[in-house]
């Protein structure tokens, strides 16, 4: 006689305990033309994101990483399998609003996600939708603008801001919902290097200081260095999953999926091929500099 090993809780939470996001055998395909088999954009994704984690999802164009991101706040619904947000099934329409409140999303193009023509009104958009009282909205807006360092731009018009500033406003707009988790869908793809830097610094701070769970979809390897965990996607599947050190120490595997290693790792590899005894897992610029200095010190004259 068969007995179920695990009794599922009524609230529906599966996977790892205390996971904010869970995908179980998630499959997705866009509608295909008649007679053709629909191509699978996501093909059996299983993953969990723990509370307070900073997870970066890497993949070349068309790997399905953005499609995956859109599943985490019910913008897209799974064709097969299921996605749980704080134990809530995204397919349940009654929960959609609660899910979107728990998981905010920042998109690639800052221009296309700013609704209002004044910065603080835009930041207020989400709490207004949630029906917060106006003093509470004021507090949330001031706080969110402070976190992204845009307090003095509250009364400005968004179209006069730089790309990086616009994206910071967009982040503030999501922060004002006070979400538990924020999914960033290639937030720096349209920014110049300075704007990129400021946005990435804010993302790190959100995770480090405010305890927000962060999922960062990106194809810039350098941005992924600061993450706790990297997930590499290719053809709609998860092909690598581990810490940045583990993943970036396998440059050949990464290259097979169309990805580079960060500049620091490429430099260290080059040095190693030339006979220097340097480690390959010094990822940040500072670590890399230290590693090279100590290798130079050890090297016989």
């Amino acid at each position: 006689m068969e007995m179920p090993d695990i009794i599922e809780p009524v609230s529906g939470g599966g996977g790892v305990p205390d996971a904010v996001l869970t995908a179980e055998n998630l499959t997705y395909s866009y509608r295909a033309r008649e007679g053709e088999l629909p191509p699978r954009v996501l093909d059996g994704i299983d993953m969990d994101v723990g509370r307070g984690a900073f997870v970066a999802v890497l993949g070349h164009n068309g790997s399905g990483k953005s499609t995956l991101a859109k599943h985490f706040n019910a913008v897209l619904l799974p064709v097969g399998g299921r996605v749980l947000v704080e134990g809530m099934d995204t397919s349940d329409e009654r929960l959609t609003l609660d899910i979107r409140r728990a998981v905010g999303m920042v998109f690639q193009n800052p221009d296309n996600q700013i609704v209002a023509s004044v910065v603080e009104e835009d930041v207020a958009f989400a709490p207004e939708n949630l029906g917060c009282p106006s003093e509470d909205i004021r507090r949330r807006v001031d706080e969110a603008l402070r976190v992204v360092g845009m307090s003095e731009y509250g009364g400005h018009s968004p179209h006069l801001l730089s790309g990086g500033q616009k994206q910071r406003v967009a982040i503030a707009g999501v922060l004002a919902m006070e979400p538990k988790c924020i999914v960033f869908d290639e937030p720096t793809a349209m920014l110049d290097p300075r704007g990129r830097g400021s946005v990435i610094r804010i993302i790190r701070r959100l995770c480090g200081e405010l305890g927000v769970t962060v999922v960062l979809i990106t194809h810039h390897m350098d941005e992924a260095i600061g993450a706790d965990r990297l997930i590499v996607m290719s053809d709609g599947r998860i092909v690598m999953d581990g810490t940045p050190r583990e993943i970036f120490s396998r440059p050949d595997a990464l290259a097979a999926y169309g990805l580079d290693t960060p500049e620091t790792v490429s430099l260290l590899r080059g040095l190693r091929e030339d006979g220097f005894d340097v480690p390959l897992d010094a990822l940040t610029v500072d670590e890399c500099a230290d590693a090279i200095l100590s290798a130079l010190a050890v090297r016989p004259a």
């Binding site: 859109k70 706040n73 913008v75 609003l97 979107r100 409140r101 905010g104 999303m105 998109f107 193009n109 221009d111 296309n112 996600q113 700013i114 609704v115 209002a116 023509s117 004044v118 603080e120 009104e121 207020a124 958009f125 989400a126 709490p127 207004e128 939708n129 949630l130 029906g131 917060c132 009282p133 106006s134 909205i137 004021r138 807006v141 009364g155 018009s157 968004p158 179209h159 707009g173 999501v174 919902m177």
Partner: protein, 268 residues
């Protein structure tokens, strides 16, 4: 060249006019326009001009900005004035072949032109001193009663504020597309009307495609920020009528009455 477009532009400020409730300003604008069409005779026009000048002065909107708003309408104003000059019957003061210029025609042209100029300046003063958001909030609140007859008031207000938000973005984009097409040898400046209109096609098509893409992305972004229509939505800045607004509305109510009086005085 497209950057000169001032429609829907807002000049932030803290003047008494800026601080009025948008509903007051909307009602005032409607009253002003009504009074403008009621006005007959020099005295009434002088009164309207004084009111307008007073508002402009109080709002500290620069004369240049106001001129900028009239510039695109200049052709319409001129055509209206010219038609008035030629097609008003009365005492003929000059004659050229079949066209005759009458004294009444000149007077009515002058009135018509100044009426249009004041009409445009007055409405632009509203947008110059009221943020688009306050403006749409005001419209939504004023039209609120129409929700009862199932008019989608909130949706209309939202559409308006998004349209205003995207005007500068789309203008920037048009500039970019024009530069790109010029770089490939497109010619927008020469040729007749039809040729120029045809030359605009390679601008409009990419612009439309990109506008649709933007609309799609914006809709997703709005939904992921929990937008679900006007139901249960609150506002950060609630509209509040103050004693200042009441005073302004009382003055507004007095304006048509004054115009009736000045009409009678100058009509006599």
């Amino acid at each position: 060249m497209l950057r000169d477009v001032t429609i829907g532009q807002y000049f932030p400020g803290g003047t008494p006019i800026h601080r009025l409730d948008p509903r007051t300003k909307l009602v005032w604008t409607v009253i002003f326009i009504t009074a403008l069409f009621m006005a007959r005779g020099a005295l009434s026009y002088a009164l309207m001009l004084c009111v307008l000048a007073g508002c402009v002065f109080a709002s500290r909107v620069s004369a240049r900005a106001l001129m900028g708003s009239i510039k695109p309408m200049l052709i319409i104003i001129c055509i209206t004035a010219i038609l008035n000059v030629f097609f008003t019957r009365g005492e003929v003061i000059a004659r050229l072949w079949v066209i005759s210029v009458t004294r009444e025609g000149l007077i009515s042209a002058a009135y018509m032109a100044s009426r249009l100029v004041m009409l445009i300046s007055g409405t632009f003063l509203l947008t110059y001193t009221t943020s688009p958001i306050a403006l749409t909030d005001g419209i939504e609140s004023l039209l609120g009663p129409l929700k009862k007859i199932r008019l989608p008031v909130h949706e209309l207000a939202m559409m308006m504020s998004i349209a205003l938000r995207f005007i500068p973005t789309l203008i920037e984009e048009t500039d970019k597309i024009m530069s790109a097409q010029k770089a490939r040898g497109a010619d927008f400046e020469t040729g007749g009307l039809i040729k120029r209109a045809k030359a605009l096609l390679p601008i409009l098509i990419p612009l439309f495609i990109s506008a649709f893409r933007r609309a799609d992305e914006l809709a997703v972004a709005m939904e992921s920020r929990c937008y679900h229509g006007g139901e249960g939505r609150t506002r950060m800045k609630k509209l509040r009528m103050t004693s200042r607004d009441c005073a302004a509305l009382a003055l507004g109510a007095a304006l048509p009455a004054l115009i009736v009086v000045t009409n009678m005085l100058s009509g006599a």
